[in-house]
């Protein structure tokens, strides 16, 4: 260890710490602001819900950034984990709510229902739309919130673990891995679309905004609570990932991204590091989904479709890969903009011969904008922060070293 490396390592953490502190500080201010505005009835309940959902998406994007921006695995399946988390919590929400309704209905009868009758009635209520009243095996834990909360973590985690183990073990990398993850997502969504999947086919789970036990609480309070919970989850998730990507672990992950073979030759078990990053991010994404869908109120297999995962990658790319706050900014900016454009909030432009209606043209704009970001601003929105901080990376195209990215002559001389 030379002095240079020591001083380098001593320098780095404060920078990261700064960005983390700024992010968490901004988040806190934002939460307080929204709470105050909502308390003063200046913003609507649906807008609070939208903000809460956006924070969940930001958490998923931060996780995606760790797996893509830091580890170099372009996973096109993380929204599947997000959806699975939503399904797991949705099962409990739907079960508990249906149980309450059924109990209220049966209470009027002179003969109190037996547990078996109660179960049958709940099964009939939930699965009537897919033409059955049998309760599938996967709903065995749906009656108990703690068990279902464990599933929120366990199901996406296990799926990611098994899939990642299979994929990384056979050294599928790069674009092949992306296509493989996309295939996994497609298989999952096709499976969920079936009526006999046990999760109500393309009807999905609905009525999730009604939280059992809080029937008398106003939706305003519920959405504000979920907003706080989402913000807390984002903050904790950000801290967790900031910790993961700093220090030695982070260095190995970045090295895997830049040259997997070299890291392997240095004696690291690359597959374990990739599997760790993949599974951990899948779990966090699942948790984000479990917070998102009670605010959205409904989940169906369309939410798990491959395109959703590609959008997640798009957000991260627009926000800027390889920096956690970039991913969060990208997700928040694009999903809020998208909402603004598609809800008709943007005035249409009349060109005389043609009227541009933004509800129709938003996707064209997004697609074109995305191409431009990829081509001209690979650092994304996060690159703006560099401009402000006057921190410009050295231009590493140069004479030293065999590859692009090798250090410049000037750096080498230091």
């Amino acid at each position: 260890m030379t002095d240079a490396t020591l001083s380098y390592r001593a320098q780095r953490p404060p920078i990261k710490r700064t960005s983390t502190m700024i992010f968490l500080g901004t988040l806190t201010v934002f939460v307080v602001l929204v709470t105050v505005l909502s308390g003063a009835d200046l913003i609507s309940t649906s807008f609070v819900k939208l903000l809460g959902k956006t924070l969940c998406l930001a958490l998923a994007a931060v996780a995606m950034d760790v797996v893509w921006g830091y580890t170099g695995i372009l996973s096109l399946g993380h929204m599947a984990f997000f959806g699975l988390g939503g399904y797991m919590i949705g099962m409990w929400l739907m079960w508990a709510r249906t149980e309450a309704i059924v109990q209220a209905n049966l209470a009027t009868q002179s003969l109190p229902p037996t547990p078996a009758e109660l179960r049958d009635a709940i099964g009939g209520q939930i699965f009537g739309v897919v033409g059955t009243s049998d309760i599938p095996l996967i709903w065995s834990f749906a009656h108990a919130l703690p068990l279902q909360l464990i599933l929120v973590v366990a199901v996406p985690g296990l799926l990611a673990l098994v899939f990642g183990w299979l994929a990384f073990r056979s050294r599928v990398t790069g674009v092949y891995l992306s296509i493989l993850t996309q295939a996994m997502t497609l298989a999952l969504s096709l499976y969920l679309f079936q009526n006999d999947s046990g999760l109500r086919g393309n009807n999905g789970l609905s009525g999730l905004q009604n939280i059992p036990g809080f029937e008398n609480t106003s939706q305003a309070w519920i959405s504000l609570t979920f907003f706080w919970a989402s913000a807390l989850a984002l903050g904790l998730g950000y801290l967790l990932f900031a910790w993961v990507v700093s220090g030695r672990m982070g260095s190995v992950l970045r090295a895997v991204r830049d040259d997997e073979a070299r890291v392997r030759f240095l004696g690291y078990h690359v597959e374990s590091f990739k599997l760790f990053a993949f599974t951990l991010t899948a779990i966090v994404t699942g948790i984000a989904g479990a917070l998102y869908y009670p605010q959205a109120g409904i989940i169906n297999p369309g939410e798990v479709a491959p395109i959703a995962s590609i959008y997640l990658a798009v957000w991260v790319a627009i926000g800027g890969r390889g920096r956690l706050y970039g991913a969060a900014i990208g997700a928040i900016a694009v999903s809020l903009l998208s909402n603004w454009f598609t809800s008709g909030g943007v005035p249409d432009i009349d060109l005389g011969f043609y009227e541009i209606r933004w509800t129709e043209w938003w996707l064209v704009l997004l697609g074109a904008g995305f191409v431009c970001v990829t081509l001209f601003a690979p650092k994304g929105l996060g690159g703006l922060v560099d401009l402000i901080a006057r921190r410009t990376d050295p231009d590493r195209q140069g004479a030293y070293g065999p590859d692009t990215g090798a250090k410049r002559t000037s750096e080498g001389a230091e």
Partner: protein, 642 residues
């Protein structure tokens, strides 16, 4: 009676008319039955008519069946009613078919055979129709026999067989005769022979005839049954007991629902048999309450497992053929199993055809990708949108060129040009800058993909647009009842083969192909040999995209044209290329073949659920890549390094 006398008088009075035709004579002897026939009374009339062997009989029967026969009250004779004008009807002679007289409407009484009688007449007509000079009439007659098989039809059918000249109809007649004899034949030997002759036939009516012979009735008893026993019926204990209950041979098992009903029926206020209703919220509590009711005699007692076992032990369940002759049922059983083997064989053949056709669709969709992704290593998520562009090109051409064949001839090259131009533009503007960043190519082309999809939606609307195939491509090729394939799928198969040949030719036999392969393997070395890698990349990308455009026209012909049609194929196409092996046209063919066959095979197990088939297929592919990460046809040597 008076009418009959009158008719008789009239008949005798109009003696000269009698000589004109023997047919009229026969009718006059049965005048009453002809005029108002009943199901029973009509039989002797028809017998006489058939026995006469007159050439005019079939025509008369047809007119009779069609309610066109009238009786003129003035002369008492039967005529065919002709055109009616000013309440005056032209009368047509039943033998000569010439108009012979007119009569006022009021003087005519129509012969009105009811439905039953018309069926009898129809059956009699069949034998004439079976020898009709018009082949279509003969086929119709056969079809009507097949719809309502009857013992009476055996003889006419056998009789018409000798004079049949058309080989196909003759074969059909023989088959139908076998079916009739198998079911209604006079002797056991005749029936067994006919049944054995049916063993090669896979037509539904032959199978139905065999199944009908093998129909069984399931009986319950304590002793071995008599008659032609098919064998014991295998039932689960629950089913068996339920059947005993149905037959009244055992008391029903007390179900939770029955307990509930009994409790509610015997409830006195808030309690039943002294137990408050509010406490009956478990099965055990309800059973206890029911037990009290049972001991009071207010409900039937519980049936114990021992009772169930005892009841099952003394009863046996047998299936007995409704057909009494064991020789016939044995022959039918053997014949049916041979038929079922044939059917399974044919269904497999049909499945294989389906699989080939699906594989050629996947191949067509993926082959363009095999070039851009497989050869150049560029991930093009907008590939599906090039397919869509080709399909919309075909749709637009059809708006201007109404002739479907001509429009197809124009659309195919035009789709190639449109998609190739779009591909080249995309390569020049976007992909060229991202050759060293493949993951970002994926995202940039995804951006283009969503933009193009939305553009198509804005231009053509969200509803599906039809791409009509020309008349010579509609319809299907039918080998037999079970094996068939539509011409459009054959055309897609041929198109896929043509593209395979074309691509192999371009890549292996032309200068362009040589340069493409050179640039693929080592761009730097190729450039130093005087090849312009930029130009080659552009042309290769154009070729791949153009082929996607043509695939779009083909896919649009059998599916509908929507803005999302490309997106439906993109993941499958990538998987086809990856499974087959990247960088090799043969690999794509192998991949498409594997995926097509696999999907159809899985569908074969559960035809109603294509979603499940797709799910399992993708899972299979994910596992497959574990074992052959480089695909079926893996590149070797240096080319594999990249």
């Amino acid at each position: 009676m008076i009418r009959f006398l009158l008719a008789f008088l009239l008949t005798t009075l109009s003696a000269p008319a009698l000589a004109q035709a023997d047919l009229q004579t026969i009718l006059q002897t049965h005048a009453d039955e002809v005029e108002s026939p009943g199901r029973r009374t009509v039989a002797p009339v028809i017998e006489d008519l058939l026995a006469s062997g007159l050439p005019s009989v079939p025509m008369f029967l047809e007119a009779w069946q069609g309610r066109d026969i009238v009786r003129n009250a003035e002369d008492g004779l039967f005529y065919i009613a002709g055109a009616e004008k000013d309440d005056t009807v032209t009368l047509i002679d039943i033998a000569s078919k010439e108009p012979v007289a007119t009569a006022p409407d009021a003087a005519l009484s129509e012969a009105r055979p009811n439905g039953g009688v018309r069926r009898v007449i129809g059956a009699a007509l069949v034998q004439f129709r079976l020898s009709d000079p018009d082949p279509q009439a003969r086929r119709d007659a056969l079809a009507s026999i097949a719809r309502r098989p009857d013992a009476d039809q055996i003889e006419p059918l056998r009789g018409s067989l000798d004079t049949e000249e058309n080989a196909r109809i003759r074969a059909e007649k023989e088959r139908l005769l076998n079916i009739l004899v198998a079911r209604f034949g006079a002797t056991t030997q005749a029936r067994v022979d006919a049944i054995e002759a049916l063993s090669g036939s896979i037509t539904p009516d032959a199978r139905a005839a065999l199944a009908q012979i093998l129909e069984t009735e399931e009986g319950v008893g304590t002793e071995a049954p008599g008659g032609n026993v098919a064998g014991p019926v295998t039932l689960s204990p629950d089913e068996a007991y339920a059947r005993l209950v149905d037959e009244g041979l055992a008391p029903p098992i007390v179900t939770p629902a029955a307990i509930r009903d009994a409790i509610l029926a015997n409830a006195e206020g808030d309690s039943v048999a002294g137990i408050p209703l509010a406490t009956l919220n478990t099965d055990a509590a309800r059973r206890a309450a029911y037990d009290r009711l049972a001991t009071d005699g207010r409900a039937s007692p519980f049936v114990t497992q021992a009772q169930v076992d005892a009841a099952l032990a003394i009863h046996r369940f047998d299936a007995i053929y409704t057909e009494a002759d064991p020789a016939v049922t044995e022959a039918a059983l053997a014949s049916l199993s041979a038929v079922e083997r044939q059917v399974a064989l044919n269904q497999t053949a049909d499945l294989a055809l389906d699989a080939i056709s699906l594989a050629s669709i996947y191949f067509l969709a993926a082959i363009g990708l095999a070039i851009t992704f497989g050869v150049m290593g560029v991930i093009n998520m907008a590939h599906g949108e090039f397919i869509m562009m080709g399909a919309y090109t075909g749709y637009v051409v059809q708006q201007f060129v109404p002739d479907y064949t001509l429009s197809l001839v124009i659309a195919l090259p035009l789709a190639f040009v449109v998609a190739a131009a779009a591909g080249i533009a995309m390569e020049r503007l976007v992909i060229r800058h991202l050759y060293h960043r493949p993951l970002e190519t994926l995202l940039a082309t995804f951006g283009i993909s969503i933009a193009l999809q939305q553009l198509a939606k804005n231009i053509f609307g969200t509803q599906a647009r039809p791409l009509t195939s020309p008349g010579w491509l509609s319809g299907q090729w039918v080998a037999n009842e079970l094996v068939s394939i539509s011409y459009i799928r054959i055309a897609i198969f041929v198109l896929a083969l043509a593209f395979l040949e074309l691509l192999l030719f371009i890549l292996n036999r032309t200068r362009l192909g040589l340069e493409v392969r050179a640039v693929t393997q080592n761009p730097g070395m190729a450039a130093s040999m005087g090849i312009d890698p930029d130009r080659i990349n552009m042309l290769t990308f154009g070729l791949g995209s153009g082929i996607a455009g043509i695939a779009g026209v083909a896919i649009g012909l059998y599916a509908q044209v929507t803005s999302e049609m490309g997106a439906n194929y993109i993941v499958q196409s990538f998987m086809t290329v990856v499974v087959g092996g990247v960088g090799n046209v043969w690999g794509t063919l192998a991949g498409a073949g594997l995926i097509g066959v696999l999907q159809k095979t899985i569908e074969g197990f559960n035809p109603s659920n294509t979603l499940a088939a797709q799910t399992y297929m993708i899972l299979f592919i994910i596992l497959f890549i574990q074992f052959r990460p480089r695909g079926i046809v893996a590149l070797r040597g240096r080319a594999a390094e990249g």
